[in-house]
Amino acid sequence: MTRLTINGQTHDIDADPDTPLLWVIREQVGLTGTKFGCGIAQCGACTVHIDGVPTRSCVTPLASVEEGQKIVTIEGLSPDGSHPVQKAWLALDVPQCGYCQSGMIMAAAGLLEANPKPTDEDISAEITNICRCGTYNRVRAAIHMAAADKAG
C-alpha cells in the first residue's frame, strides 16, 4: 500500500510498485484529465507536477514517489480553472482537439514557477510536449500572457 497526496487529498494505493504513476492516477484514483499518449516520456500528455516540478508520469513508477510528495494534476491546478495559465489558454482559445492540452498546461505552469518571465528561447527549450493539431504558436502566446498576468 502506498500513500499518495494528489491535489491535496491522500489516497492509499494498492498497486504494483512498478505501475506508472499515470495509470495509478487514471485507473486507481480515477482522474482522467492526465492523458496517455506514448508511454515513453516523449509526448508529455501525461505531465503532472511532483513537488512543483513538471514530471512525465507515464515513466514514473509508483515506487519512486515518496510519501509526502505533493502531486498535482490538471484537475488540481486551480479549483475553478482560474490559474493564470488556464485563463490565458481560455483568452486565446488555445486548444484544438485538446488531448495534449492538460500536459501542455501543466508544463507551462511548471515553467512559469521556475522562470516567471520566459523568453521565446526558454519556451522552445522547456516546452517539448507534442501537439499534433499544431497549437504551438498559441501555446507560446498564452505562456507570455500568463507570465504578464502573474507579474501584474
Binding site: 495509470w23 491546478l77 481560455l90 486548444p95 482537439c97 517539448t128 499534433r132 499544431g134
Partner: protein, 727 residues
C-alpha cells in the same frame, strides 16, 4: 453525473423525440422532419434545434469535432438563421442509430475531406431558418397576429406593431407542434451576425481543467479494460498464444483471440491488461509479406515512372510529342524526380473503443469521424442487425483521417466484448500498436519533364505519378474505370474540388498505379500533399532554369486562374516578396487548390551549420465563405505543423514486412522549437464553400523546400529532410 448517465440521457432525448415524432421527409430537406415530440424538458423544434424552457438552445451536430472547430462553425450557421442568443447555445451529438431510425434526417455523419461545413451548410442553415419560422408562427398564433408582423432576434420574438415580446423558450413547446414550412429563405452571407465572425470555440473550457472526456477516458459501471496486439507484419495472422502463462497475473480476466489477426488480454485495469499482454507468449504467421522492405517498394514505384501504361488525369495538346522533339533552339528540357514516404496519422489519443455486447444488443462508445461507419462495423462484428446496435460518439483526441473510413478498432472492441457478454470492455491501443497498424498516407513518386522555349515559356509538361491508390484499397466503389481520381487532387482541368492553376499548352498528367501491400488511408490533406510538393517544386525548378523570378514565372501560366493567382499574390505580398531578402535567407512560394479552396504559402528560411530555421510562413486562403475566421487561422497554423512535421521528420519505413517506427522517438514530429511564425491571410471571395482543415497543409512543405533552394542553391527532392545533410 457520470458519463454513462449523460450518454444514456442524450440517447433518451433523441430516442424519445424520434419515437413520438411524425413523418420524416428524408435527407434533402431534413428540417422537414415534423418532430412533434413534446418531451417535457426539451421540446424539439425540428431535428436540428431544441429550445428548453429556460431559453437554452441545443443545436444538434452530427459531424465530429476533433479539434478542427466544425462543432462551433456548424452551430454558428444554425444559430445565424435561428436568430438565437449565441450565449445560450449548447450542442449535442445525436447517435447514428437514431439517424437511421429517423430516415437519415441528419444526413451524413462523415467528417473528412474538409467537408464538415461545406457539405452541410445548406441543410443545417435551413434547419435553423425553419425553426425560427416555427417559433415566430407559434408566437403569432398566441398573440393572434399575422406572423409577418413578427421578427426574431437574439432569442426574442417581437410583434412590431404592439411591441410585445416573448422569448423562444416560452413558445418552443407550441412551435414543435406546428407543421414545418415548406420553404425557407436563407440570409445573404453579407448580413451574417453570428456566422462569419471570429467567435471563440464552444468546447474550450472543459479542455483546460481535465473535464473533457475522450474515448480513452470513458468509464462505465462494471467496465473491464483490454489491450490488444495484432500481427505486426502486414497481411500476417495470429498463429498461437499461451494464455495459461498470463492468466494468473494480477487483474487478468480473460485472454481472447481477436478475429484471425490479433490477441487481447482483458483485465480489471488497462495497465494490468497491457502488462499481461507484454508477457504473453505469442507466435505469428507472418504471411506473404514478411520480406517486404522500403527499398523493394521504392523500386516498384520507380518502375512506374517510365511505364508505358498509366491512367490519365489531365491531357491537353500533345505533351509526349512536344517533349519527344527535344529542347527547342535556345530552350531547355528540364526533368526532375521526387519521392514521398509513408506517414502515420499519430493522433495524440491512441485508437480506442468501448463495447458492450449481449445476444440482443450491441452498444459502442467511440471517438469516430463517422458514427455511421462505426455503427455499420459494430453491427457486422456483433453479428446483429444494425437496428439492435447503437454508437455513442465521444470527443476525439485527433482524427486527421485515421478515425473515418477505418473502424478496425471498433471491430476489435466488439469482437472482444462479444467474448465476455454483458460486460462493457474498453479497448485502448498502445502507441506502438497505433504506429504498426496505421492507415498510412501512401507513398508516391513523381517524374516531371518540361520544355522551356527560348523565351522561357513552359510549352509542354508531363507529370507522371507512380504509387499507391487509396481508393483501390479502401473504397473501390469510388474508382472510375480502374482509375483513382483522388490521386489527381489539385491537378485536374476543371474539378471544383481542386483544379490545376496553370495553363500549359501541351500537358499530360498521368498515374501508374503501383499498390504495395501496405494499408493506405486518408491522411490530412490526402494526395494534395504530395502533388503540391511535386508541382510547386518543379515550377521552381523551371523558373530557375529559365532564369525568371518564381512568382513571375508562375504568373505567366496563371492568367486563366485568377483565384489561384490571388492567393499566391497575397501570400507573396504578406511575406514582402518584392523587398530585399535578408542576408543568408531564402524565400519560396507555393500554391494549389484542394478541398474546394484556393491556398498559397510564402516562406522565409535560412540554413546555418546544417540546421534549417523557418523564420516565417505567410499563408493565404480563399475558402469562398469564411464561417469563423479565428478558427480558419488556427486550422492554417495547425495544418502547417502537420505538413512541416512530414517535410522535416515524418517517415514510416518498412523492414521485414512491418513498420520500423513504433513511437515518437523514431517517428519524430514538429515541436515548439521548430515552429515558425505563421501569418494567415483570409480572402473569402464568396460564391462557393471551400474546406478549411486540410488544403493549406499542402503548401507548407513546397514553400519551405523552394525557400531552401533560394537560400542554399540545393534542391531536395525526397522527403523527409532529416535524411539529408542540409548545407
Amino acid at each position: 453525473m457520470t458519463i454513462a448517465q449523460s450518454v444514456s440521457r442524450r440517447n433518451f432525448l433523441a430516442g424519445s423525440a424520434a419515437a413520438l415524432g411524425g413523418l420524416s421527409l428524408g435527407f434533402h430537406i431534413p428540417f422537414g422532419a415534423t418532430a412533434t415530440a413534446q418531451e417535457a424538458a426539451s421540446p424539439e423544434i425540428n431535428a436540428w434545434v431544441v429550445v428548453k424552457p429556460d431559453d437554452t438552445v441545443v443545436i444538434r451536430i452530427v459531424r465530429s469535432e476533433m479539434g478542427q472547430g466544425t462543432l462551433t462553425g456548424l452551430a454558428q450557421l444554425v444559430a445565424e438563421e435561428l436568430e438565437c442568443d449565441w450565449s445560450k447555445v449548447t450542442t449535442e451529438y445525436p447517435p447514428p442509430g437514431r439517424n437511421l431510425a429517423r430516415n437519415r434526417v441528419w444526413g451524413s455523419y462523415s467528417t473528412g475531406g474538409s467537408r464538415g461545413i461545406r457539405d452541410s451548410h445548406d441543410y443545417v442553415r435551413k434547419g435553423g431558418a425553419a425553426a425560427r419560422q416555427m417559433l415566430i408562427a407559434a408566437a403569432a398564433q398566441q398573440w393572434n397576429v399575422p406572423a409577418g408582423e413578427c421578427t426574431a432576434a437574439s432569442s426574442v420574438i417581437t410583434h412590431g406593431p404592439s411591441g410585445r415580446t416573448v422569448t423562444f423558450g416560452k413558445v418552443a413547446d407550441a412551435a414543435g407542434r406546428l407543421t414545418p414550412p415548406a420553404e425557407v429563405t436563407l440570409k445573404d452571407p453579407k448580413d451574417w451576425k453570428i456566422a462569419g465572425k471570429p467567435l471563440p470555440r464552444l468546447d474550450t473550457v472543459d479542455k483546460l481543467t481535465g473535464k473533457q472526456v475522450y474515448g480513452a477516458d470513458l468509464k462505465l459501471p462494471g467496465m473491464l479494460n483490454a489491450a490488444v496486439k495484432a500481427c505486426p507484419v502486414f497481411g500476417g495472422k495470429l498463429a498461437s498464444f499461451d494464455a495459461a502463462a498470463v492468466e494468473k497475473m494480477p487483474g487478468v480476466k480473460k485472454v481472447v483471440k481477436v478475429d484471425d489477426t490479433a490477441v487481447a488480454v482483458i483485465a480489471d485495469t488497462w495497465w494490468h491488461a497491457k502488462t499481461a499482454l507484454d508477457a504473453l507468449p505469442v507466435t505469428w504467421d507472418e504471411g506473404p509479406n514478411k520480406d517486404l522492405s522500403s527499398a523493394a517498394i521504392a523500386d516498384m514505384l520507380r518502375e512506374g515512372l517510365d511505364a508505358r501504361e498509366a491512367f490519365v488525369g489531365q491531357s491537353r495538346g500533345d505533351a509526349r510529342v512536344e517533349l519527344a522533339k527535344g529542347a527547342p533552339t535556345g530552350g531547355k528540357i528540364v526533368t526532375a524526380t521526387y519521392a514521398y514516404p509513408y506517414q502515420n496519422h499519430a493522433t495524440m489519443e491512441p485508437m480506442n473503443a468501448t463495447a458492450l455486447w449481449t445476444p440482443e444488443k450491441c452498444e459502442v462508445w467511440v471517438p469516430t469521424q463517422n458514427g455511421e461507419s462505426s455503427l455499420a462495423v459494430a453491427a457486422e462484428a456483433a453479428g446483429l442487425p444494425v437496428a439492435k446496435c447503437e454508437v455513442y460518439k465521444i470527443h476525439l483526441g485527433g482524427g486527421f483521417g485515421r478515425r473515418g473510413n477505418f473502424q478496425d478498432y471498433v471491430r476489435q472492441a466488439v469482437s472482444i466484448a462479444r467474448q465476455i457478454p454483458g460486460t462493457p470492455v474498453k479497448l485502448l491501443w498502445t502507441r506502438e500498436e497505433d504506429m504498426l497498424h496505421g492507415a498510412y498516407h501512401p507513398t508516391t513518386q513523381a517524374k516531371l519533364t518540361g520544355t522551356l522555349d527560348a523565351q522561357g515559356n513552359l510549352t509542354a509538361l508531363h507529370m507522371r505519378i507512380s504509387g499507391q491508390s487509396i481508393l483501390a484499397a479502401v473504397r473501390p466503389e469510388g474508382m472510375q474505370g480502374g482509375m483513382d481520381p483522388v490521386v489527381f487532387q489539385g491537378l485536374t482541368e476543371k474539378a471544383p474540388e481542386g483544379h490545376l492553376g496553370y495553363t500549359v499548352p501541351n500537358l499530360l498528367i498521368d498515374h501508374a498505379m503501383r499498390n504495395p501491400p501496405i494499408p493506405p488511408g486518408f491522411w490530412r490533406g490526402v494526395n494534395l500533399n504530395q502533388n503540391a510538393i511535386y508541382v510547386e517544386s518543379f515550377m521552381d525548378e523551371l523558373a530557375a532554369a529559365a532564369g525568371v523570378d518564381p512568382l513571375e514565372f508562375r504568373r505567366k501560366l496563371m492568367a486563366n486562374h485568377p483565384k489561384h493567382l490571388a492567393v499566391l499574390e497575397a501570400a507573396a505580398k504578406g511575406l514582402g516578396w518584392e523587398t530585399p531578402v535578408p542576408q543568408g535567407r531564402g524565400r519560396g512560394l507555393a500554391q494549389i487548390m484542394g478541398f474546394g479552396s484556393y491556398v498559397a504559402a510564402a516562406a522565409e528560411v535560412s540554413v546555418t551549420d546544417g540546421r534549417l530555421k523557418i523564420h516565417r510562413i505567410v499563408a493565404a486562403t480563399d475558402p469562398g465563405h469564411a464561417v469563423n475566421p479565428a478558427q480558419i487561422e488556427r486550422q492554417v497554423e495547425g495544418s502547417f505543423v502537420y505538413g512541416l512535421s512530414a517535410c522535416l521528420h515524418g517517415e514510416c519505413t518498412v523492414k521485414g514486412g512491418r513498420m520500423e517506427q513504433e513511437n515518437f522517438d523514431t517517428y519524430e514530429v514538429l515541436r515548439m522549437d521548430e515552429m515558425p511564425a505563421v501569418e494567415t491571410v483570409i480572402i473569402p471571395s464568396g460564391g462557393f464553400w471551400g474546406g478549411v482543415g486540410e488544403p493549406t497543409i499542402a503548401v507548407a512543405a513546397p514553400a519551405v523546400l523552394n525557400a531552401i533552394f533560394a537560400a542554399t542553391g540545393k534542391r531536395y527532392r525526397t522527403l523527409p529532410l532529416k535524411n539529408h545533410e542540409l548545407s
